[in-house]
Symmetry: C2
Subunit: 220 residues, 2 copies
Amino acid sequence: MPVGASPDLLKKLDELVYVRRRLKSGTILYHTGSHFHALFAVKSGFVKTENLHDDGRVQISGFYMAGEIFGFDGIATDEHMCTSVALEDSEICIIPLDRIEHIGHELEQLQHHFYKLMSREIVRDHTIMMLLGSMHGEERLAAFMLNLSQRFQLRGYSPYNLVLRMKREEIGSYLGMKVETVSRIFSKFQEQGLLEVHQKNIRILNIEGLRKLIGQHPSK
Amino acid sequence: MPVGASPDLLKKLDELVYVRRRLKSGTILYHTGSHFHALFAVKSGFVKTENLHDDGRVQISGFYMAGEIFGFDGIATDEHMCTSVALEDSEICIIPLDRIEHIGHELEQLQHHFYKLMSREIVRDHTIMMLLGSMHGEERLAAFMLNLSQRFQLRGYSPYNLVLRMKREEIGSYLGMKVETVSRIFSKFQEQGLLEVHQKNIRILNIEGLRKLIGQHPSK
DNA sequence: CGGCATCTTGAGTTGGGTCAATGGTCGTGG
DNA sequence: CCACGACCATTGACCCAACTCAAGATGCCG
């Protein structure tokens, strides 16, 4: 699920960075319809991207943490097709696409790296589609926690003590369920000794238990 | 939702095509884990891509018709992350990625075209996520029919008389619901005079009605 | 300390799943 | 040309996971 970048690539990215920018929590970086001019790399903090439907429904399509890149949605039509919002005070790097394409022209490997990044985003999306299309609530939340845990570890944080940056409602939107359901499942996981939940602080007590949960009800 | 290519691009693609290949209905073109070596353009016919979970669950992640390109899932790790299957006798073109990258090196516009194609796939996936995460069965099927209609039109077929190439079960897998539910909703749409359903032949009688259906139950 | 947002929990409802039976359609072989 | 069998689609009856509505609980910030 994570869309990350190797340290190697990150070094090269430094040459691409146009500006760094600080975002207050809640800041909208771009929204649906705004002109695409660059990709964004999360330097620190947490960002969500969400798709808004006319009738007011919202679907969160991604959460991005330090080291991850987002904004690929804007390349197709030169207009962003979703909205990105900082979930906490964050710092992001702005990477104009034409610069990638230009430097990629000289540095064939960089071009390939960017194809890989986009492909990874596609694979990640397919994972979410699998989750939304064929898993039960408990499996979805378990998969989500495991994914976060893995990404935290990748970024040098503990894979067991997570601090969620999003609220329950946002988790629900991402996983295709209502706040109440998210809350109930958290409680259930706690009763089962899988997690310890204190607000946004989650401690994973039984990671194997979470793993085994997925694929338990191969019904749906 | 569609991932297509402009006629302009298609012309350039001709230079990239390595081989054409005929596929019998049911042929697997690549499967999860197989080595990635090329992208594929549908010349004629119909192809699906599906993600398989260990426990046997299947999630169809895309349907591709003439003029559309698939296989981007393999770029991330040089291994395909899903399985592609021909839904009817089809003809496809094989486009090695290194050739794209090479020619793209000379022809900057081509490189940009490919970024656009991948971005379009990402945007399409987000649409499906929205559908799976926040729509009811009826809305999903309505959105699916409208999307197919639009793609048929784009390829020069009637947008009203559709011949489905996939079975109900596959529609269900794509839309995150069971065969029976797909069938029930088709029947309901027919009763309401929105569609005329004869097996895989669907006639759209009231396209506006279908559109209005989406966003009707902004609940979920 | 008060006010507001977020989170949790309970009770009742329902959309869509499960299971089971029936009905069509098509391809094959007698 | 018709009969058989395999596969696919439809329909009905029943059930359950997740939704809705409503009430509290908890935590955060001025």
